[in-house]
Structure formats: C-alpha cells, structure tokens
C-alpha cells in the first residue's frame, strides 16, 4: 500500500449556509440601497444554489520535499514551482491537496438564467461563488482537524493562479487526486476547471504558528482587482 490517501465525500445533502454579505460583495455592493425586488431575488437565488449544488470534494495528504526544481509531493507527480508557494510552505512538512466542486447542475442553471433573466443570472453566479468558498472552508476545517490530531497547524489555502504558482499545474493536481473519477472534476486545455464552480488548493501542515495571509500584493490579479482597489483586501478581509 502506498502512502497517499484519498478522502471523498459526496455531501450533496449537506446544506452549507451561503453568507449573504459575501454574495453582495461579489456583486459589487457598497452600502447602496437595495430595493425589495433585488433583495428577494438574492434570497431566492441563495436557496436555489443550495438546492441545485451537488457538492463533492476530495483531498490527499503528501509529505513534501524541497528540491532545486521546486517542491515535490512525495509519491505523486505534483511539483510545485515558483517563489510564492515556496514562501507559503516554508516550515511545512506535509501538504493537503484539495479539490471541490458544486457540479454541473449549478452551471446549467446560471446559463439558463443568463438567457432569460440576466439579473438573476449574475446573482446566481455570485451565490455559487460564495457557495464554493463555503465548501472550501468546510473542507479546510476537516483538514485542519486532521492536522491538529497529528500535531500540526495549517497554513491558509493556496490555489494555482495565486502569485506565481502556475495554473498549468491543474491537470497534475486533478490526476493525482483522481478527481475526474471521484468528483467529476475536469480541466480544459487552457486550465479552466469544469464544472466552473470548482476550486483546487494546497494547504501546508506546519509545526510553526500559523502566519497571517500574505495579502494581495502576491496575487497576479492585483493590478485590476476590484476588491483591492476599493477595500484593499479580498479574501483576507
């Protein structure tokens, strides 16, 4: 038996809460007056996304090894390259690699409404984005519990595309997690995850105290990120 491990859970029956403030934030809300109609569309969209999501996730834990070519995940084909991930995992001995998805039905719903009712389409899209973040948080908690049990703290989630960690690593991550078979997650030639409301991320296991988030300066979307322009922070709020 090799030393890598999969955990898969189809928790489509689990109802994660979607934070309405998050939805509003994705919609560019800045203390405007929300009329009743918009407010009720947001509420019904939150409900519909919860109902339509078919949440699935998978993660695996790997020992890591620093080399000149990057960080190698033992017994896997994953090699993490770039200055930023190196910085992020400084002091980590292991990593959890995770992938989560809301499934295709959500996608179809958003597309349907984008044709008949674009207002609702963009609201549903924002709700789904908030939902996939919730799912990530949920899985992160799971991973954290596992880490603590074996005497580790965890770092924040770090995804391909943050800093200089290339998104071209997505196929290797999905292959190593057997993600297509286990949770129906695939990637296109241009490294777009499908279903679109999906996330992959890396979490370090460290004996050190958890550090604060590195903040936006590391993000390659920094230059024209709406959130950074207006508030200075996105997920690090």
């Amino acid at each position: 038996m090799s030393n890598y491990h999969f955990y898969k859970n189809n928790n489509s029956n689990k109802n994660l809460n979607i934070d309405k403030d998050e939805v509003l934030r994705y919609l560019g809300y800045k203390n405007n007056v929300i009329d009743e109609t918009t407010d009720s569309i947001i509420d019904s969209s939150i409900y519909e996304i919860q109902k339509t999501s078919s949440m699935n996730y998978v993660y695996a834990i790997f020992n890591i090894e620093e080399t000149n070519e990057g960080i190698l995940l033992n017994n896997s084909i994953i090699k993490l390259t770039g200055r930023d991930i190196h910085e992020h995992l400084k002091g980590s001995q292991k990593v959890a690699v995770m992938a989560v998805t809301l499934g295709f039905q959500v996608e179809q719903k958003i597309k349907h409404y984008s044709i008949t009712n674009l207002t609702k389409g963009i609201i549903l899209d924002a709700c789904a984005t908030a939902m996939v973040e919730e799912l990530c948080n949920y899985v992160e908690k799971d991973i954290k519990a596992l880490a603590i049990k074996s005497g580790y703290n965890i770092t924040h989630r770090y995804s391909p595309g943050y800093g200089d960690l290339p998104i071209s690593i997505q196929p290797d991550i999905l292959n190593a997690l057997n993600a297509q078979r286990l949770i129906g997650l695939t990637v296109t030639d241009n490294f777009i995850l499908l279903p679109r409301k999906s996330v992959t991320a890396i979490i370090g296991f460290t004996k050190e105290k958890p550090r604060n988030k590195e903040g936006c300066l590391n993000c390659n979307l920094y230059e024209n990120c709406q959130f950074s322009k207006e508030r200075g922070l996105c997920h690090a709020k």
Partner: protein, 789 residues
C-alpha cells in the same frame, strides 16, 4: 462469447489501478506508461486475474488517448499495441478467454459543457479503436463514463471502425445520476438505441449501494447487464484508505444481483483477484436469470427521458419559421438568444418535447439545425424533435444530438423509408411516420391503417422495433376536405389496436382558412385525444389549447385527483390569467425601477400614439442616463443596473416587434461583434456588455463563448462589422485574444478591436495590439459611440 451468456455468467477482472498502486504507481502517474516501462507488472496482474477465474481481461489502456498522452513520448498505438500484446501473452493458448480494449473518459469535457468538439472526441476514440482492432482485441469496453455525450462519440467510433462486441458502463453518484446528470432510464434508452451489446454500471459505489441502480437498469433493458462495483465504500484507517467489504461480503451482493438478472460481473476500485475468485465460487451452480422487461417508447435528452405512456405528452411546435416573421428574422440574423427564449418559454408552459425546424431557403439549414440543437441542449433538458425535409440535415442533427431524439419525419414512400430508416436505426431514434405514400394523403381511415402497416413492417427490415415509431395520421383542413376530417381520427384506434405504436398529430391545420380558429382547434384536439392521440404537436403557450389538454387529462383519469388541474386553476394560484394591476407609471419610471414585466406592455401602449424614435428619446435614453448616474454615484449596484437594462431591452423588443410587423426595414450604421475568445468559457461579463450596448441602440452580433479565431475573422468579413469586442478572463486565454487580433490584422481587416476581462489592463491591451481597452460596460459604450456615431 455473446452466445455463451445465455447459459453462463461472464467474469471480467478486477481493478487495474489498485493493483498498480500496490506495485508503486505514484499519484497522478500515467498507468498506461507501465505497458512500456514495466510490462512484467501488467503481465503479472493479468495472470493473477486469469488464475482467479476471469473470462475477460481488460487491457491497461483506460487513458490511452492522444490528449492524455500529449505530454509524454508515448503514442496511442504504441501503448495499445503493447497492452494487447501483454494481454495475449498472459492468456497464452487458453480457450474461451478474451481480451477487452478498455476505453475510459478522455479527461476533458465535450461542448457545450466543455470545450472539446463532438467530432474531436470521436476522432480521439477512433484512433484508440483502430489500434485496438489492429492489435487483435476481442471486444471493446467503454467504461467509467459519466458523460452520455462522450459515450455516444465512443460508441459511434467503435461501430464505424470495428465489428467487435461493445460493452458500456457508466459511473453513477449516490443520487443515481452521473456527474453530468444522466439517469438510468436515459442511459438505457440511448445505449440500446445506439446498438451496444451489453450495458451497465461500474465504479460508483460499493456493491450494496449500487443495487438501486442495478434494479433500475433491470427494469428497462433487454440487453445483458454488466456490474463492476468498488470493493465497498472507502474508509480511512490510520490515514490510509481501505474499501470496507471483504471478498466474501462483496460476493454475497454479487450473488443477489445474479439472481435478479445480471449476467456479467467484475470489480472496480479496491478489488483484487481474491474478489474475482470469491464471486466466481459464490455463483457456482447458479444459472443466468434472463429477464425481458416490456419495451417503452422513449425520447431523451442527456438527463431527461420522456416516456410515451398513458398520459398525454405535448410536443411544442413553435420553433418553425413557417408563418412566423420574428423567428424567420432571428434565423437569418443568427440570433440564437431569440430561439433559446422560445425554447425556454415552451418548456415553461408545459411542452415535454420541442420540435425544431429551421428550414428557410436563405440559410444553411444543416449548419443552423446543428447549432440550434447544441445551444438548446446546453440550457434545457427537454428532448428534441429533429424536423426537416432534408436527409442530410436529419443525419447531421441525429449524429450530434445528445440523447435519443425524435426524427420528423418519414412517410410511406419507399424512397423516404430507404432514406430515413438507416438514420433512425443507426442513431437509435424515434421516428414520426406520416401516413402518406406515392398516392398522396389518403381520404379514408382504412387506407391510413394500411400505410401505417406498410411502414411498421418495412421498418422491421431495418431492425427498427415498432415502439420506436410514432404514427402521424395527418390532419386535413375542414375548409377544403370536410368529409375526411374525422377519418384521420377514426384511424387512431384502428392503428393502435394492431401495433404497439403511439400516435402524434399536428392539430391546428384543421382550422386553416376558417374564422375563429381557436374553437375549431380546441374542439378537434379534444376529439383527437378522445380517439387516443398520445402526443399533440401543438403550441403550449396557447391558453385555450392547454386548457383543453388539462381538462381532458382530468376527464380521462390521467391527472390523478385532479392535482395539476387544481394547482393551476385553484383559487390562490390563478395568476396566469389575471393581469396584475400596476400603479400607472411612465416608461422612464418603469425602466428606472426595473419593472421588466411592465415594459413591454407599456411600450406597446405608447406605440399607439408615439413613434419609435419619440419613445426612445423621450423615455428610454433619459431613463438609462439616470440609471447610469445612479450607478456611478453608488446609489444602486450591479444587479439593479442590469435589471433596468433588461427592462429597457424589453421596451426595445416591443419596438422591434412593431417595426417588423409594420415592415419597417432597420437602418444599421454598422454592427458590433462580441465574442469570448477561443478556449475561454466565461461569458457573464460579455453578456452584460452586450445588454448595455443594445440598450444604447447598437446592433450587436454575439458569437458566444469559446469562439474560434476563424469564426471571428469570417464574421468580420461577411457582415458589416464596425467594432470587434473580445473578452477573456484567464491569463491563458489572453493568448488567444492576441492571436485573434493578429489574425484580423493579417487578413487586412482594419476593424478596431476593444478588449476587456478580469486579467486585462490597459498596458496588457496595448501589448496584444488591441485598439481599445474597456474596463466595464459603460467604457465599451463610450468607445462604441466614438466609433459608430
């Protein structure tokens, strides 16, 4: 081998992946590389399974496709030849042992969910199948599929490039649907139609949990069933993953499935030779329990099956340009959104199936049919009916259709049957058969029965079972052939008593040329239903017709306890027929408040007294300006802005409608092309830009997402395009944006290009030689004004 199944069970092997992991395969490493690198390991795994009693070993070729091998030095042929070679060596000279060519999912998704075209998927599978056949496999195993469309491409590739038996398995989630939404009845309808030799389920879950899926399969298929479950559910012990069923417990479940009627077994994740040995001994002495459930008449999409049973099914007829000016214009202008809205409207008003006819002399019908079908299938689960008089249009549509379509139509002429039946057979479609022949439309019921009989019997020569035929006994108009009107209806029970076929009928022609058509149509529809019509081809947005159908369903005891009827006509829910009263409001207020439902009505009212231009200038532009200011000053935010924009669009639609009816030709100062570039599938931002541009009166051609470079170039060449707007959201797809711009320049097309999308900046836009950068929709409008006005 297939004959053997009547007397004996067949046993596949167990997991290859699990065995390879034990032998040191790394996470994510390509298992197929072992055929070349470590052939002795593969050989030994085959040997162990053969020794355990497997009749069929599966080649280590699950992912041996050109996309998965792209970054390796291996070729598809090389991997498949070596895999089959190892298998042959392992089998040696033993009789009655077979080699199955394993074909798994490609790994990237097909359009419209993904970016791979159906044809590309077909060619990928074709390459694998040709190599497998050449190497000498005994059967083709298409396995662990989640996407029905992908499995269709694989089956067609197998059928068109080999004569070998084809076995297919799909993998299901706990909820008994695959990841892309296919349920069991849909899988069975489509795979049986495509002519596979055995079908079933693998992977998914453990053998206990898989029983619900297996029971469902048993309910519908007459084909041999394969089941290859995982070795239970994954459990984590001491940070390691195990499957929780022992070979003994696993085999107990297998035995219960064998008793129910499953005949082909094997194992998936976590199973080892021990599981095969155990199930084989457990089934000793047991004989296959062949079962043959009643055959149903079904039409499906990828995720929904409509069964023609005792309840009336409605086939929506509105997507047909005959006599529909707006649809005709939409087709000529390539306005897919209009067609999608028509489709959604019919689905929402109760159509179970939608007829699709795009035949116009000026357009490329084949291209448009394929396009419309793919687009509708990307948003609606409603099964579709391919309606064309051209054989090549029908064939192209049936090929790319995702599911089991209805073909409309064949008739009793020998030439028609010889044209259409091969397509029906090959793609496993339902077909509507019109009761006319070389002598034309008959006047009597008896002659209709005779033609129906000829068609059904002739279809048998093509191995098309009668349940896949829908008879249309053809309505005649009361104004011209009054004495024959009831003959059509009289033929219905005569045909149904003779054959297990369902009846469809387009009823509205009966009233052609007469006044008060509605009363004639509803009365005739009620009569036809009483005579046994199963599926009217009709307009579900017509209240009177739907009232008739709902009433009939109550009286015929189809709507049990009058449930639907009460839901629709019961006191509290009766909103459909009442006009909600609004406070009197001007159009500008309506737009500012975003009252979408009101805009159309109000605009039509205004059109009685004002010209289009007056309405636009007096109400719409001022309203949009106010909304824009409110947005800029952060009084409102994005969803409110969009709703006002959609409201304004409703008003524009009413004006456009009015102009079409009045025969006013649109004067276009030039069009704006919008596209999300090739490889990118993010289109919400682009859709917002389109909406806002349209609000300001610009004529927009929206090419959609993942648009090939050549399509952009061709559209600029052929249409009066004054500005090109390109959108990309990913750093990886900005490259395609750059290539699109380069291609336009290379062709000498001096059209300005504006770009936008999350990763773009003015500097980046400059670098890829775009003429403009728009940070949002308002920016885009300003740029469009600069260029076009």
């Amino acid at each position: 081998m297939l004959n053997k199944l009547k007397e004996n069970f067949l046993f596949f092997d167990g997991a290859m992946g699990t065995m390879l992991q034990s032998a040191g395969l790394k996470a994510g490493e390509l298992p197929e590389s072992y055929n070349i690198k470590n052939p002795h390991i593969i050989y030994s795994i085959h040997k162990q399974y053969l020794k355990a009693g497997s009749d069929i070993i599966t080649t280590n070729t699950f992912g041996a496709n050109r996309l998965k091998l792209k970054d390796t030095s291996l070729s598809v042929e090389q991997v498949i030849y070596s895999a089959v070679d190892i298998g042959k060596k392992a089998i040696e000279y033993r009789d009655e042992k077979y080699i199955a060519l394993s074909i798994g999912p490609i790994g990237t998704l097909l359009k419209p969910l993904g970016t791979l075209s159906f044809q590309d998927a077909y060619e990928i599978f074709q390459e694998q199948i040709i190599a497998g056949v050449k190497a000498g496999v005994d059967l083709i195993l298409i396995e662990t599929m989640a996407d029905l469309y992908e499995i269709k491409a694989a089956i067609l590739a197998a059928k068109e490039n080999s004569n070998l038996p084809i076995f297919c398995t799909m993998t299901f989630q706990d909820g008994t649907r695959t990841f892309t939404g296919t349920d069991v009845i849909t899988m069975v309808s489509v795979l049986e139609g495509l002519g596979v030799d055995a079908l079933g389920v693998n992977c998914s879950t453990g053998p206990k949990e898989i029983q619900v899926i297996v029971e469902d399969i048993l309910k519908y298929t007459q084909l041999p069933i394969i089941v290859q479950p995982n070795a239970g559910l994954p459990k984590i012990i001491e940070n390691k993953t195990y499957y929780d069923l022992s070979p003994e417990d696993f085999s107990k479940e297998i035995k219960s499935m064998a008793k129910k009627g499953v005949t082909i077994f094997g194992g998936c994740c976590g199973t080892t030779p021990e599981y095969i040995r155990s199930m084989k001994s457990k089934l000793k002495g047991l004989k296959p329990n062949i079962h043959l459930p009643t055959r149903l008449t079904t039409a499906t999409s990828a995720s929904k099956t409509i069964v023609f049973d005792d309840e009336v099914k409605i086939i929506g007829e509105r997507i047909n340009p005959t006599g529909k000016k707006n649809l005709e214009v939409a087709l000529k202008e390539n306005n897919i959104d209009y067609i999608l809205k028509e489709a959604i409207l019919q689905q929402e008003t109760g159509s179970h199936i939608l007829d699709i006819n795009v035949g116009l002399p000026e357009i490329d019908e084949k291209y448009m049919m394929v396009k419309v079908i793919s687009e509708i299938q990307s948003v609606l689960p409603t099964p579709l009916q391919i309606d064309s008089s051209k054989k090549e249009v029908i064939e192209a549509a049936a090929r790319i259709y995702n599911g089991k379509p209805i073909i409309n139509s064949v008739n009793g002429k020998k030439s028609s049957m010889d044209d259409i039946f091969p397509i029906v057979k090959k793609y496993g479609a339902l077909v509507i058969a019109l009761t006319l022949d070389e002598d034309g439309i008959p006047t009597t019921a008896e002659k209709r029965v005779e033609i129906a009989t000829n068609i059904i019997e002739y279809a048998k020569k093509y191995e098309i079972p009668e349940e896949n035929i829908l008879i249309d006994p053809l309505v005649l108009t009361a104004s011209a052939e009054q004495e024959s009107v009831l003959e059509t209806l009289r033929s219905i029970p005569l045909i149904k008593s003779k054959y297990n076929v369902k009846i469809v009928l387009g009823t509205s022609n009966v009233s052609f040329g007469l006044p008060n058509r509605n009363i004639l149509n509803t009365t005739y529809l009620a009569l036809a239903l009483g005579f046994g019509l199963d599926a009217p081809i009709t307009d579900s947005t017509n209240h009177a017709l739907m009232d008739t159908i709902r009433a009939y369903k109550v009286l015929a005891n189809q709507d049990k306890n009058c449930q639907d009827f009460l839901n629709i006509y019961g006191s509290s829910n009766n909103v459909k027929y009442e006009h909600t009263s609004y406070a009197p409001m001007n159009l500008d207020e309506i737009i500012i408040k975003g009252l979408k439902e009101e805009a159309n009505r109000k605009t039509r009212e205004l059109l009685n007294n004002l010209s289009s231009i007056e309405i636009v200038n007096k109400f719409m532009i001022p309203a949009l300006d106010i909304v824009g200011e409110k947005y800029d000053s952060q009084e409102i935010f994005l969803p409110q802005l969009i709703r006002s924009a959609e409201t304004a669009k409703e008003a524009f639609e009413a004006i456009k409608d009015h102009m079409t009816r009045e025969g006013v030709e649109k004067t276009s100062t030039g069009k704006i092309l919008l596209a999300t570039v090739q490889g990118d599938i993010h289109d919400i931002g682009k859709n917002i830009v389109k909406l806002i541009l349209e609000n300001y009166g610009f004529d927009v051609i929206d090419l959609g997402k993942d648009v090939p470079i050549q399509t952009v170039v061709d559209t600029v060449k052929n249409q009066n395009i004054k500005l090109v707007g390109l959108s990309a959201l990913m750093t990886t797809t900005v490259k395609n944006m750059e290539d699109t711009i380069k291609a336009l320049k290379r062709e000498g097309l001096n059209v300005p290009v504006v770009v936008g999308g999350a990763v773009l900046t003015p500097e980046y836009a400059n670098m890829i030689e775009a003429d403009y950068y728009a940070k949002d929709a308002k920016d885009a409008v300003d740029i469009a004004k600069e260029i076009l006005q």
